[in-house]
């Protein structure tokens, strides 16, 4: 299979690459250390259209296809996985949820603001007691006075400190468990929504991760997203396409770690010659490059399939599983090739190594991906 990108796909990839290299690369380490995507970067991301990539043009977005979107995420992740996830959660999880399930009024109300980055979106599903077992969530939504009163706690909400609006999943019929979950659009300004302190993380430090709590938070009925009690299905469907984004993030991290390693191996001299002359290093680099190539095909293929409305659940899980494991393998080898320097912050592979780890965990752990893949391959 040879991937022929269209002229437009190449154009957006190159545009994103140019932006990432010129604007993000020089500050990537600083963002990691400051643990934030600075307002200046957020503003520029908005102005240049990175918060409206998959929003249809009629709502002010670019309306790009899935593969173009993935190519953009890959370019940003190559430079800063923390910035990338900020962009991707907004697009893949929040905007995509509205693209798929919002009614016309909701789209008109929110999407134009999301497209310019004037408003940032977040996605609140995980809770202290429900991670992979998302159907067991305990946040409740009670119908009262033409709206819903939400109570509960959400964890690990990416963009929570930056967000103006959240997609929140809560149980409307607790006795039905996963079949009694509904989805709500909750604005930051709604009374009873409290944003927690910024979490300290191992990697993707630039991204803003927090817990949020809902204490008698009233959500008007018009902010119910999609069909009541179908929220769990919606959550999974949103995550199906979201995980191709994480796969692209993993791919970007792996590519960056590989490129740094190849460059370093040619420059670094030991025993009077570049270490790239040694077969031990050559084999590492060959394995890294091979796995990256395989991961790229899986990721692009999943993106292409999702774009063409094929059933892509299996391909998305395979891409995310494989690419995230490749990212960790490659980042680990990258540190090894760099030796002691690879353990120091002075070299970016230290950051890639930390950033890679999350890709095997969020938007479905590797184990959850394997469950999904098995379920798909054992169907009829």
């Amino acid at each position: 299979m040879v991937f022929e990108l269209t002229e437009e796909q190449k154009l957006v990839r190159d545009t994103a690459r140019d932006f990432a290299q010129k604007r993000l690369k020089p500050v990537a380490l600083e963002l990691d250390e400051k643990e934030e995507v600075t307002p200046k970067i957020m503003k520029e991301l908005g102005e240049l259209g990175y918060f409206g990539i998959i929003i249809p043009e009629k709502y002010g977005g670019s309306g790009l296809d899935s593969l173009s979107y993935i190519l953009i995420l890959e370019e940003i992740a190559k430079v800063s996985a923390g910035v990338m996830i900020t962009v991707s959660v907004h697009n893949s999880l929040f905007c995509q949820a509205l693209n798929k399930f919002a009614n016309e009024e909701q789209k008109q109300k929110y999407l134009p603001k999301m497209a310019t980055g004037e408003w940032i979106g977040a996605y609140a599903l995980t809770e202290p007691h429900s991670g992979t077992d998302a159907g067991a969530l305990r946040t409740k939504a009670e119908f009262k006075n033409k709206g819903y009163v939400l109570n509960g706690e959400k964890l690990f909400v990416t963009n929570a400190g930056l967000a103006d609006v959240f997609v929140v999943f809560a149980s409307t019929k607790p006795e039905l468990k996963a079949k009694g979950i509904s989805c709500f659009i909750v604005e930051k300004s709604f009374k009873g929504l409290n944003i927690g302190a910024k979490e300290k993380k191992l990697g993707i430090k630039a991204s803003d991760t927090r817990a949020i709590s809902l204490v008698d938070c009233f959500v008007p009925q018009e902010n119910l997203l999609g069909i009541p009690n179908e929220g769990f299905k919606m959550a999974l469907e949103i995550l199906d396409s979201g995980r191709i984004g994480v796969a692209a993030q993993a791919l970007g991290i792996a590519e960056a770690a590989f490129e740094e390693s190849l460059k370093y191996a040619k420059e670094r001299k030991q025993f009077d010659q570049p270490i790239a002359n040694f077969q031990a290093i050559q084999f590492k680099l060959a394995d890294m490059a091979t796995r990256i190539e395989a991961a790229r095909h899986l990721v692009y293929n999943a993106a292409q399939m999702s774009n063409n409305n094929h059933d892509f659940v299996k391909q998305a899980s395979m891409a995310k599983l494989f690419a995230s494991e490749v990212a960790n393998f490659v980042a680990n080898e990258a540190v090894q090739i760099h030796g002691g320097y690879g353990y120091m912050k002075e070299y970016p592979v230290e950051r890639y190594f930390r950033d890679a780890r999350i890709t095997e965990i969020y938007e479905g752990t590797s184990e959850a991906q394997r469950i999904t893949i098995f379920r798909e391959i054992s169907k009829g």
Partner: protein, 261 residues
């Protein structure tokens, strides 16, 4: 009222070579880039337009390959793009290049500002802005680092000098070239890039500009290239050896010898 920004496609200067025998600069095959200084002029034009309205015209002289830099201008927010392209426009010197550009500017018309980057990084002559102003009989300020004031018929600008700047008041229309200190150019947006990809570029040739054929002949050129040579290679450095103390001592001796200290 229009702002016309003259831009040029230049080779990636990192890969230029010089052939002294043929008196020629050998440009790489790669597609080239927008002249880096022009990006600042374009940014300034866009900022002025955003404040004052009007249209920004990108204008370039060159072959079809120059479309690239005009599309770059369109992707950043220029409204129209005009390419002056004709077999007869090839290998012009600065004198004739500025003449042709001036004809293009006249044909666009209704301008109050004509902006240039301070020079193109390929020829490095820095002659074109001043010459265009002469052909059009307009006032000019070159090496501008800031607009302090701008109305429909006058501008107050700071002209960079070696040790500071001059404040110059100039009546408009005028030709102004800018230095890189003037702003930080924006990058193209995703939408801008896609819009520019399919945007129309107007192409004008000698007939469109009503330039007579013999006006651009060899005998009309004002400059003749006598020789072309690469800059002398950098002399080899010297690496001092020994313990840190010895190296420091040797270095101090060398600096004294060179009368630096």
């Amino acid at each position: 009222m229009n702002i016309i920004i003259c831009i040029k496609q230049v080779p990636d200067i990192g890969s230029i070579k010089v052939d002294p025998q043929a008196k020629k600069i050998i440009f790489p095959d790669s597609p080239g880039v927008l002249n880096p200084f022009d990006a600042y002029a374009l940014e300034e034009a866009l900022r002025i337009k955003e404040k004052r309205g009007g249209k920004v015209f990108g204008l370039s002289l060159g072959g079809p390959e120059s479309e690239f830099c005009l599309r770059e201008a369109l992707s950043l927010g220029a409204d129209e793009a005009v390419l002056l392209s004709d077999e007869k426009f090839k290998n012009l010197d600065a004198y004739l290049t500025s003449f042709v550009l001036a004809q293009g500017i006249k044909k666009i018309g209704d301008y109050y500002l004509i902006l240039f980057g301070k020079q193109a990084v390929d020829g490095d002559s820095s002659l074109i802005p001043a010459e265009v102003a002469e052909w059009l009989d307009l006032p000019q300020v070159i090496f501008v680092k800031k607009f302090d004031e701008l109305t429909d018929d006058m501008a107050n600008v700071r002209r960079m000098t070696e040790d500071g700047y001059d404040t110059v008041e100039i009546s408009l229309p005028a030709v102004i070239s800018v230095v890189k200190e003037i702003n930080e150019p924006r990058l193209p947006s995703l939408k801008g890039k896609m819009r520019a990809k399919s945007a129309k570029i107007t192409v004008w040739n000698t007939q469109d500009l009503q330039v007579e054929e013999n006006r651009l002949g060899e005998n009309q050129k004002s400059a003749q290239i006598i020789s072309v040579s690469p800059p002398p290679p950098r002399p080899k450095g010297e690496i001092l050896e020994g313990s840190p103390e010895e190296i420091a001592e040797k270095l101090a001796a060398k600096l004294r010898e060179a009368q630096v200290i």
